[in-house]
Every structure is written in structure tokens, then in C-alpha cells.
């Protein structure tokens, strides 16, 4: 929104008139009701569970409803080590989620493989196959860190435009909403990464620039 419109809006609200846009209203509704998928992989999942319980209370952010089906979920929190044997299932779960959908890669393992990076059985980061919105470092990250990631995601949702060339991926008809599921090969997963996802996009420093 242009700056003069913002100023006008503030001026109007001082006089008791509330104005908004469809985009703001739509994003406000979406960001305060992000339903994650009931999905945990390793010790990070324990922290994720702790985040949802009374002490940290993720319900304050409208995300208390963990859906047991990917068809009803908006967010997949990849919480833990993704083994090569598990990776196809994670990608398949992501593919089964309806748009708009978001991914939080929680912890060192989900980002990069973490301490198991050099193992023969561990995927070196889920961002090789699916687009990740928020990466949280930590081993495991504390619930506060997950809440921070969640607030970052809310901010990201809030800033998405419904129209224009900078609208998000899911509003581009030609952009994929499903990504190829890797297959078990003779020496590892094939392909080892999906370059369409893994390449630099939006200046993400974690992505490879070719």
C-alpha cells in the first residue's frame, strides 16, 4: 500500500473510521489460523509438542489445531532428522497439502542434516526437495525459537500480495504446487536434490547460486 494511503488510513482511524483492504483482511484471517500438520520426525518434535502445550501455548497464534491429515493442514513443521528412507514420504505429505501451504524447517537436521550430515542415511536438508519458508537453527531449537519462526511466518503471510508480479508462488498458475518425489536409487536418493527448489530464489543465502 502506498504511503499516502497509509497516512490517510491512520488519519481516518483517528476520526473513528476504520478502513481496510481485502488483501489485509484476507491475510489477517490466514495468518491467525495456520493449522499445522501433526507430524514429527525426531527430538525436535518433542520441542514442537512442548510449544503447543500450556506453558508456551502456540494457541495464542491461532495454531492450536494440529490436523491429522495433510488435506486439512496449512503448514508442515519438518521437526527432526529426515532420513533418506523417510524423505519421499515427507515430500508426498507436502504434495498432498492444499495451497496455500508453508514449510518450517525446524532444527539443524531439517536444515542441513545437522550432526548426521555425513551419514549414509540422512538427507542433507529438506530444502533439497520442497521450498522452505522459515529455517530455524538449533539442536533442538527451544520452543521460543519455534514461536519466533511462527511469528516470522505470520509476518511473511501478512506481506503477501494477492495480485501483481510479486504475488506468492501459489497464486501463480504456472508455478508447481507439487514437487517430484525422490526415488530410492542404487547408491542414494535420485535425484539427490530438486534443482528447481534448491537453486537461489528470493536471495535465500542457504540456496545455491549457479
Amino acid at each position: 500500500m502506498a504511503d499516502d494511503l497509509k497516512e490517510l488510513k491512520i488519519e481516518l482511524s483517528k476520526n473513528g473510521i476504520f478502513t481496510t483492504t481485502l488483501e489485509e483482511l484476507y491475510n489477517w484471517g490466514r495468518k491467525n489460523s495456520v493449522w499445522p500438520l501433526t507430524f514429527g520426525l525426531a527430538c525436535c518434535a518433542i520441542e514442537m509438542i512442548a510449544t503447543t502445550m500450556a506453558r508456551f501455548d502456540l494457541a495464542r497464534f491461532g495454531a492450536e489445531v494440529f490436523r491429522p491429515s495433510p488435506r486439512q493442514a496449512d503448514l508442515i513443521i519438518v521437526s527432526g532428522t529426515v532420513t533418506k528412507k523417510m524423505a519421499p514420504q515427507v515430500v508426498r505429505l507436502y504434495n498432498q497439502m492444499p495451497e496455500p501451504k508453508y514449510v518450517i524447517a525446524m532444527g539443524a537436521c531439517a536444515i542441513s542434516g545437522g550432526p548426521f550430515r555425513d551419514g549414509y542415511n540422512v538427507l542433507r536438508g529438506i530444502d533439497r526437495y520442497i521450498p522452505v519458508d522459515v529455517h530455524i537453527p538449533g539442536c533442538p531449537p527451544r520452543p521460543e525459537a519455534l514461536i519466533h519462526a511462527f511469528m516470522t511466518l505470520q509476518k511473511k503471510i501478512d506481506e503477501q500480495h494477492l495480485s501483481g508480479s510479486d504475488r506468492p508462488r501459489h497464486l501463480h498458475a504456472d508455478q508447481p504446487s507439487e514437487f517430484p518425489v525422490p526415488e530410492f536409487g542404487a547408491h542414494g536418493l535420485e535425484p539427490a536434490q530438486n534443482m528447481d527448489v534448491f537453486l537461489a530464489e528470493n536471495g535465500n543465502p542457504l540456496k545455491v547460486i549457479q
Partner: protein, 202 residues
């Protein structure tokens, strides 16, 4: 708790109980002193049954099976040898000369079994079975028919080390998928170079 025989007594007891079997005591020099018994492959099943069913031993519980990969190794030692050496005056003299001898030992795969007795409350007794080499003759007899608890662990040793257990009822990969061809716990295993980030952040 009844005391177990010493490794040497074990060797004598097994070789007497199972005619033809060859048992080698492999000492463990560490403070744990868990010496192990290397059993020849032809009599391994009979030895296992003997250990399980012997009234004093009753090793009825196999708690652990694992594989060990021994690479080809070369040891050098200096030996003093007496040799005839031409002296300065042309006569031959016998003198002591130091020689370096290199011993090459081809690599092999081993399976290690830890046995306990629930009945007698003693253990562990450590059995080793040795395959001929680590390339084409990696077969050793399966002890799953003797101890059922070895089934999944022998599958794991097959999966990760490539030890083929003859007589195993269901020898398939257990951790890696069926189409996988490598044995990732072998010492010469190199994981696939699938990391484009390695060039950016070496």
C-alpha cells in the same frame, strides 16, 4: 551366579564336546578383558547348539550380533637374522643383520555374537565367526536357527556389512531399501558426492 570357565577351558570344553571343531581364543588386552572365541565355520552351528544346551553353560540368550570389517593390513617388524657376509679380507663371516619383514594380512569380515545365560545368570561369552575375505567369499553360517533373537541383527549385519548368513530364514536388507547396492558400514564405503553446497562452503 555360576562362574564361567576361562577362555582356555572353554576352548578345551568345546573341542571335546564338538568333535572336529577348531576354536581359537582371541585375547582382549583392554581392562575389560573380554576375550572371544573364534569358531570355525563348518562347526559353528554345532558349537552354538553345544553352548546353548550344555547343562552347565546354558547360554540361552544371544543379546547382540554385529559385524566387523577388517581391511587388508600390513604389519612391519624388525627381525634379527644371521647371515653370511663377505668380510673385508674376502672370507665369509656370520654376522647378525637386522631385516624388516612385512606381513600382509588380507582383509575379512567377522560376525560377533554376545551370549548370556538367563538360566545360570552368567555371561557374556563372545563368539566370532569369520568370513574368508571381504569381496566374494563373505558367507558364514547363520546362528538364527539356534538363537531366534539373532534374526534381525544378522539381517542388519548383512545390510550394512554385506555378510551373507547361510541358513538365515529371511535374509533381506532391513534398514536400507531393497534396491540399495552398497554396504555403508564397511570401512572403504564412500557416500555419494551429492552436495552442490560443498563447492560453495567446502
Amino acid at each position: 551366579m555360576s562362574p564361567l570357565p576361562t577362555p582356555e577351558d572353554f576352548k578345551a570344553q568345546i573341542e571335546a564336546g564338538v568333535p572336529g571343531s577348531v576354536v581359537t581364543v582371541i585375547p582382549n588386552g583392554s581392562p575389560s578383558a573380554q576375550h572371544s572365541l573364534l569358531v570355525d565355520n563348518d562347526h559353528a552351528r554345532a558349537v552354538a547348539l553345544f553352548l546353548r544346551d550344555h547343562p552347565d553353560l546354558r547360554l540361552d540368550y544371544c543379546s547382540l550380533v554385529t559385524g566387523v570389517d577388517w581391511l587388508d593390513s600390513e604389519t612391519t617388524e624388525k627381525v634379527k637374522v644371521k647371515k653370511l657376509v663377505d668380510g673385508p679380507d674376502g672370507s665369509q663371516q656370520e654376522t647378525e643383520v637386522e631385516e624388516t619383514r612385512k606381513t600382509k594380512r588380507p582383509g575379512y569380515l567377522e560376525a560377533v555374537y554376545h551370549l548370556f545365560s538367563m538360566d545360570k545368570k552368567h555371561g557374556p561369552v563372545i563368539l566370532r565367526l569369520r568370513a574368508a575375505n571381504r569381496t566374494d567369499q563373505t558367507n558364514i553360517p547363520s546362528l538364527t536357527p539356534v538363537w531366534r533373537s539373532a534374526e534381525f541383527q544378522e539381517r542388519e549385519a548383512f545390510d550394512l556389512y554385506g555378510i551373507v548368513f547361510d541358513g538365515h530364514p529371511d535374509l533381506r536388507r532391513i534398514l536400507m531399501w531393497d534396491g540399495f547396492v552398497d554396504f555403508p558400514m564397511r570401512k572403504d564405503y564412500v557416500p555419494p558426492a551429492d552436495d552442490p553446497l560443498a563447492e560453495v562452503h567446502p
